[in-house]
């Protein structure tokens, strides 16, 4: 592995200094002169036709400047997902910015812009809406059943998408099995709970050009979608990159209603319009889709898979949105591909209901899959008395194998086995007792969960954007500006990319600064999602830095009268190899930008054209591959068998992500991901009234997620480093597996502790007590 001086260090995050003092850069702070405030009127009914709307009383209120009704909104159907072209064939374009058909409780039917948010909100009460209520369906079973209301004209039985993948000969595989296991596993609807609300400010000029500020994960996706629904060329829409946003996790990976509504109101009033969602509105914006998975698996007595059949039913709610892609990622990376098996069939269904719509959320279908697959593996091992580590290794891919999803790539680095063995040894997995066998009211257990196959970005995925760009500019003081479209939502994207650039340029991390960008000034970038930034954006940043470095060396070559090949950068200097001679990068950058002819004491100093011009490096490129990280988690729990409460005692996470760019930031991903995975496993659940569709859990008092008290246990991150040949300085990407592996590990630990298997998340204390026969 290459020796690095910046990459591999836990450098301090440059944005942290500003954030501990208040944090000016959050989009929620954007305020423009003359700004109006808008609010959305939301349907209380989950399925209804808007018969009439009369907003005249609202319009007449002092302070109200404009009203927006469905008739004022272009009826252009779209898919809101950022990371695909709006008309991508694999997605479903079934949404309208404002429609007179309501398909879920909370869908906006009107909007008001006023001089204050309070006036806008009061004005909503003056809008008279006549609804015709329609029959509802809230379960996928009812939605697909006889007599169910058809929610979209082109989806019979409310099935939006129905992919099927078949490999080998399933029947033969089951015939070959010594044992067959079946089970149904259910996951629930949860929210990303980003702490900064969804918020936007949209301004317009007399020519109808828009400037957009928004808390979102993809500048170019927002530009594209917004232009599309307003029927504008993209060059008329400028999206400004926020310096950072207050969390996203995939929950800000699509265009909401607020940006197009604010845009239309701005065009109507000629003033900037701001919309900030309440926490209730955020809870009903987008969520992780619930998926029910039926698994039927055939194994030999030694644990080798002979056949695997799975059927997954995803509730996408009123519109398909991400559900058309989540089902694919779930099927591929959650079910079929993590382990080897020649005979597999998977059927997926994305089903419309009158529930709320789904969005992206870290893991994107793989948490739902991992819960099912890793729980069942545990069940198989228990039933056949097989070692869970050996079972997985028996069925695992090997380093050097062709990539199961993208065979033109290989699993060039894949240390899954080392992750399993190192993690097992660290927590002493072998010490666990037989399930439910320990004495006492409080019983302990250890469980294991894995994400054996994941992605570093979306290279090779049909219809999904995957390229990045960057512009690096050197300043005369020897620092560098990095301008690129990657949005930092907290995972440390800024820091990582600056480290990569600094390493390449021979600078310190704090000498590279991420600076301003908007959709008019920087190359296209795919979103901050899919664990792609380190690998994909990092590759582009490294390439831009390499270009800039080449210029540095060319200028220095003239100054030092040496060949470019004789020079190298390190420690902020250009060194002549094997010599003491050097120049600081500041001197080189200054020379490049100094006047063409400089006056000195000895008279005019000669110079060359080749030295002159700002030192720039630009890139716009796709990454070369899509290497898989490998992630393994061991969790020890204690269950109070009188109350069913679960305490986590210890977590060990072993992870192959290639070269770790910033160890502290990587640990932060593991620790934060565990909070989300633990919440998913034990307590989080967005619930709705089954009659009215109204949300029952729309604030933090009712929607439970782990606090610092519940997380009172050590989390050890073990990074099993490898040198990924296609990644920047050997790196692969991070992030999503941290949220995917906790739930199965916790579920398996609970089984080990109390001997009861719960196949439905969240595993609440009540479910445990019921399973123990105590209720």
């Amino acid at each position: 592995m290459t020796n690095t001086s910046v990459v591999g260090k836990s450098v301090l995050r440059p944005d942290a200094f500003e954030k501990v003092r208040g944090g000016k850069g959050f989009p929620v702070n954007v305020s423009l002169p003359g700004m109006l405030h808008a609010k959305l009127l939301r349907s209380p009914y989950p399925h209804a036709r808007v018969v009439s709307i009369d907003a005249s009383a609202a319009e007449a209120l002092p302070g109200v400047k404009a009203v927006l009704l469905p008739k004022d909104v272009p009826q252009i159907k779209f898919c809101p997902v950022f990371f695909v072209p709006t008309l991508a064939p694999s997605m479903i374009q079934d949404m309208l910015v404002m429609s007179d058909t309501v398909r879920y409780a909370g869908q906006p039917v009107a909007a008001v812009a006023a001089t204050s948010a309070e006036i806008a909100e009061q004005a909503l009460e003056f809008i008279e809406v006549e609804y015709e209520e329609l029959p509802t369906v809230f379960t996928t079973e009812a939605a697909m059943g006889e007599g169910a209301p058809q929610l979209h004209a082109d989806a019979p039985n409310n099935i939006a998408k129905n992919p099927v993948f078949e490999f080998g000969d399933l029947e033969a595989g089951f015939a070959d099995a010594d044992h067959i296991f079946e089970g149904t596993y259910k996951t629930q609807r949860v929210h990303t709970c980003y702490m900064e609300p969804r918020v936007c400010v949209v301004d317009s000029d007399a020519d109808g050009r828009l400037t957009v500020h928004s808390s979102m994960q993809h500048m170019f996706g927002l530009r594209e979608k917004l232009a599309f629904v307003l029927d504008l060329p993209e060059s008329m829409v400028k999206v400004v990159k926020p310096p950072y946003i207050g969390g996203g996790f995939g929950g800000k990976l699509d265009m909401g209603y607020i940006e197009p509504v604010a845009a239309l109101l701005s065009l109507k009033t000629g003033r900037p319009v701001r919309i900030e969602q309440t926490r209730y509105e955020d809870f009903i914006t987008t969520t992780r889709n619930p998926i029910e998975v039926y698994l039927k698996t055939g194994v030999k007595s030694d644990g080798t898979f002979t056949a695997r059949y799975a059927r997954s039913t995803l509730d996408c709610g009123a519109h398909a949105t991400h559900g058309a892609e989540v089902i694919m990622v779930h099927g591929m990376f959650g079910i079929l591909l993590p382990y080897r098996c020649a005979n597999q069939t998977w059927e997926g269904r994305t089903v419309y209901t009158n529930n709320m719509i789904g969005g992206g959320y870290r893991g994107y279908g793989s948490p739902q899959g991992a819960f099912a697959v890793e729980s069942q593996i545990d069940e198989i091992c228990e039933a056949l008395n097989l070692d869970p580590i050996e079972f997985r290794l028996k069925n695992a891919h090997q380093q050097g194998d062709p990539h199961p999803f993208n065979p033109e790539f290989t699993l060039s680095t894949y240390r899954f086995e080392d992750c399993l063995k190192t993690g097992a040894e660290r927590i002493d997995f072998a010490r666990r007792a037989a399930a439910g066998s320990t004495e006492g009211v409080r019983k302990r257990g250890i469980g294991l969960g894995c994400q054996a196959l994941w992605v570093s970005g979306c290279m090779g995925f049909p219809d999904i954007y995957e390229h990045s760009g960057a512009i690096i500019k050197l300043n005369p003081d020897g620092t560098a500006n990095l301008s690129n479209a990657t949005v930092d939502m907290g995972s440390g994207q800024i820091t990582t990319l600056c480290q990569i650039a600094a390493e390449e340029l021979g600078l310190r991390a704090d000498q590279v600064r991420m600076t301003y960008a908007d959709s008019e000034t920087v190359p296209f970038d795919a979103p901050s999602h899919a664990s792609r930034v380190t690998y994909s954006a990092g590759t582009a940043v490294k390439a831009a830095a390499a270009n800039a470095k080449q210029r540095v060396l060319e200028v220095a070559a003239v100054m030092l009268e040496e060949g470019v090949d004789n020079l190298e950068v390190r420690d902020g200097h250009v060194h002549v190899k094997g010599s003491e001679r050097k120049l600081s990068i500041a001197e080189v950058a200054t020379r490049a930008e100094s006047p063409f002819v400089q006056m000195t004491a000895e008279g005019p100093k000669p110079t060359t054209i080749g030295e002159k011009g700002t030192i720039l490096g630009v890139s716009s490129m796709a990454p070369p591959s899509n290497p898989s990280p490998a992630s393994v988690e061991f969790v020890e729990v204690e269950v109070d068998t009188e109350t069913g409460e679960v305490s986590i005692l210890r977590v060990v996470f072993a992870h192959d992500i290639g070269k770790v760019i910033n160890p502290s930031a990587a640990e932060g991903q593991v620790e934060g991901g565990f909070q989300q995975g633990m919440g998913y496993a034990l307590m989080e659940n967005i619930q709705f009234d089954q009659e009215t569709g109204a949300c029952l859990t729309s604030d933090f008092l009712d929607y439970k997620m782990p606090t610092a008290v519940e997380m009172n246990f050590p989390i050890e991150s073990i990074f099993i480093e490898s040198d990924e040949p296609t990644g920047p300085f050997g790196a692969k990407s991070l992030s999503e597996p941290c949220t995917t592996v906790p739930a199965p590990a916790i579920a398996n630990a609970i089984y080990n502790a109390v001997g009861v298997r719960i196949r439905e998340l969240p595993i609440t204390p009540e479910k445990i007590l019921a399973a123990l026969g105590k209720l």
Partner: protein, 154 residues
């Protein structure tokens, strides 16, 4: 009906006209233009809005502005400014406790009250002390580390 109140924010007197329903959070952000205190929810459940009122950590989203006549508020902006960070702020940066940063200021203000006591804090006390502050990015691990560092150095 607006009423004018006079209160002290970060050591400075402010005269602000407030509506009956306006909260301390709203006047900090909108009238006093101090944006470090943040809104993360609407009913005192997340802690992003935490400030000190008469020396005690409170959710500013539930304090009516009209109740603030003659009282003292300290926000994140009231900690030492300029190039020097308050030791607790510095600990957060150094421990890697800041990811998206949206919850950070609220937790720092809460921790400030925890650290104002005479006894050293143990981990359970720290975690219990920040139970009213939610974080979705960090898993709290490095936040607790930062508070421990600040505790040890005082």
């Amino acid at each position: 009906m607006k009423k004018t109140i006079t209160l002290q924010i970060n050591g400075k007197q402010h005269e602000i006209a407030v509506e009956p329903y306006e909260t301390l959070l709203q006047i900090l952000r909108n009238q006093a233009h101090l944006r470090g205190t943040k809104r993360g929810c609407d009913s005192g459940g997340c802690g992003c809005c935490t400030v000190h009122l008469d020396g005690r950590a409170v959710y500013s989203c539930m304090i009516f502005a009209s109740s603030l006549q003659g009282r003292k508020v300290t926000t994140i902006e009231g900690l030492p400014q300029g190039k020097e960070l308050d030791p607790l702020q510095a600990a957060f940066v150094e421990a890697g406790a800041v990811q998206c940063g949206y919850c950070t200021c609220g937790i720092i203000m809460t921790a400030k009250e925890l650290l104002a006591g005479n006894e050293p804090l143990d981990e359970t006390q720290i975690r219990h002390g920040i139970a009213g502050n939610l974080c979705r990015c960090t898993g709290y691990t490095k936040i607790v580390d930062a508070i421990k560092i600040a505790d040890a150095s005082r």
